[in-house]
Amino acid sequence: MNEETAAAIESQGASRYYTMGDTTVHAVENVSFSIRRGDFAALLGPSGSGKSTLLNLLAGLDRLSTGCIVVDGRDLSTMDSEALARYRRLTVGMIFQSFNLIPTMTLADNIELPLRFAETPRAERHDRVLELLTNVGLAHRAKHRPTELSGGEQQRAAIARALANRPSVLLADEPTGNLDSRNGQEVMALLQDLNERVGVTILMVTHDPSLAAHYARQSLHMADGKLVTEVEAER
């Protein structure tokens, strides 16, 4: 497979159904799309459109009902739970609207967590954590707990944690949703920088079209679990 042209994310007829009593809810229905390696894509849609479910499917946190999703050449639909855990650990990084840093741990400990799961040798970890913190400009905050930091700082720390095991894909769920505009811009600038400098593929869920228009090269619009349009920005 050619590294340059191969898709980072390839979805074909991806669907996720829930059964609630007698009714079946089609959270994601027959979604097909493709995101190129190194791309910065946005997934747009109103609340309940299924974009978070799709993101969870891509993150390997949820399982497809039908269809298949191939990330970095790996088909998620065929993986068992152990393989999915390994996929979450090494192939994708995830950041959340509410940051999801563990409040009882320092930033350094939070960032070390995925390295522990990946069984990175202990000797390498310290340097790696420091490097990650430096990259997001938080080296001086290593020993602080998340609650002692501003929202922007917390999200930057969460980004550092998501990149700990050098994933090829970064999935962001409303990363600026809980931030004021100044902090939001800072986080978006960091994501853009990572995308351009490190080459990590980014898929960002947002309900803010202007954010998508400003940063993303490709936009996917969802409504009622279906993909409505696929817009490629000319940038």
Binding site: A85, P114, F117, E119
Partner: protein, 436 residues
């Protein structure tokens, strides 16, 4: 996840709910303490009983007689007496070569006249084997034991020494003259003559209690000399007349051999081996079987009662960990999103359970030990001050019990962690992360 990380994370999680985990750990500690307390009491009592009996030398001893002997003690034996070989020097050598045998000594007893200064007494003389020095009664000898197996030294019964001197201790180091009947082999085989002989001995020790004399109560003797010395004196034995009537050869036979083992553990093997040689053998081991059964049952019941508290503590672990799962729902979801597998999550909860078990177990053993010291102290106070008896350690905490109790606490804790760990591992990360 590697083990070190697992336990680091577990320790961190436990620090975050310090009070709750400390209380649960204390629960385990109390459980383990009660288990250790109960079992050590059982072991201590058993050890106490064994010690008393072992020190008497009873259980390290097997008595061997020929089945030809009219005084044969092996009543259940269906072997024909005439098929049993003679208990002679040849047999003695064979028995001495059996595994675990420390010493084989014949019973030597004879009446003798004992002269001390101008006092003359007619009394019973007995041989005391070297191995007897480990017996409780001989260990407490005033003065000392024989300097060697062939020494010309004697130990006296304290009451007998009192007859000789007002202060019995003053006989130590003094000389004693013994007049005895010596058996001398005659011209024809099977015949012997008896001559009066005299021999001088140094008194080296006084015995308060009577040494264990086996079946024939040599302990009634007042003067004890080393068995080998006694043998070399060719003392005329009461059984010699029996031998004279029955025996066809003039070779010496023994009426009984006392076999001392290195430990009581060999008694059964030696007893069986001797019986295979077609001699009669008897030990007190048979008599102790019921005692050992009693202690096994006692230990079991003490163990069950002791375990009850630990069972309650294990419920506290389940409770604590289920609470932790509920409380850390989101954290578990985050960990899974970051790549923790179900097994990692499960192991993390097991590590927490095991840590509580380990700390609780260690504290419990310490607590149990303190309770034990207190019981020892109390019981000794009672024995010593009120009963005027020597103090005893009723309480023993052997190393295997320490290790076993801690291991058991860890095992119980990990078992208690199965349900919470499975629940944590099953947690759906999507649900857990949605939960605010």
């Amino acid at each position: 996840m590697i083990r070190q990380d697992l336990f680091e994370l577990a320790a961190r999680n436990m620090r975050n709910a310090r009070l709750r985990n400390a209380l649960t750990t204390m629960g385990i500690a109390v459980g383990v303490a009660s288990l250790v307390a109960m079992l050590s009491l059982g072991i201590g009592l058993q050890g106490f009983a064994n010690h008393q009996l072992m020190k008497s030398g009873m259980f390290q001893t097997v008595f061997v007689t020929s089945r030809q002997d009219v005084r044969n003690m092996d009543e259940n034996s269906d072997a024909k007496p005439e098929e049993s070989p003679a208990l002679n020097d040849d047999a003695r050598t064979k028995i001495a070569a059996l595994p675990g045998v420390e010493e084989v000594a014949p019973e030597v007893r004879a009446t003798a006249e004992v002269q001390y200064g101008d006092k003359t007494n007619f009394t019973l003389l007995a041989g005391l084997p070297q191995s007897a020095r480990e017996e409780d009664s001989v260990e407490k000898v005033k003065g000392r034991f024989f300097s060697g197996p062939k020494a010309n030294e004697v130990l006296l019964q304290r009451d007998f020494a009192k007859k000789l001197e007002k202060d019995p201790a003053s006989v130590l180091g003094k000389t004693l003259t013994v007049r005895f009947a010596e058996r001398q082999n005659g011209d024809t085989s099977g015949s012997f003559s008896i001559e009066r002989q005299e021999k001088q001995f140094v008194i080296v020790g006084l015995l308060d209690e009577e040494p264990f004399g086996g079946m024939r109560m040599i302990s009634r003797a007042r003067v004890f000399l080393p068995t080998q010395t006694a043998e070399s004196m060719n003392l005329m034995q009461p059984a010699d007349t029996q031998q004279l009537v029955r025996s066809t050869s003039g070779a010496r036979t023994y009426s009984m051999l006392t076999v001392r083992m290195k430990s009581a553990a060999y008694a059964e093997i030696v007893e069986d081996a001797v019986k295979k040689m077609n001699f009669s053998a008897y030990s007190y081991l048979d008599a102790t079987r019921s005692m050992r059964r009693f202690f096994a049952v006692l230990d079991m019941f003490l163990g069950i009662f002791g375990s009850l508290a630990l069972a309650v503590a294990s419920l506290a672990i389940v409770n604590t960990l289920v609470m932790a799962v509920l409380e850390r729902r989101r954290e578990i979801g985050i960990m899974k999103a970051l790549g923790a597998s179900d097994i990692d999550v499960k192991k993390l909860f097991f590590a927490e359970a095991a840590t509580m078990g380990l700390i609780g177990g260690a504290l419990g053993v310490a607590l149990g030990w303190i309770i034990g010291r207190a019981i020892n102290f109390g019981s000794n106070l009672y024995l010593h001050k009120i009963m005027k008896m020597p103090t005893e350690n009723l309480w023993t905490v052997p190393l295997w019990l320490v290790a076993g109790a801690i291991g058991f606490a860890v095992l119980v804790s990990v078992l208690a962690g199965i349900y919470p760990a499975a629940r944590a591992a099953k947690l759906d990360p999507v649900q857990a992360l949605r939960y605010e």
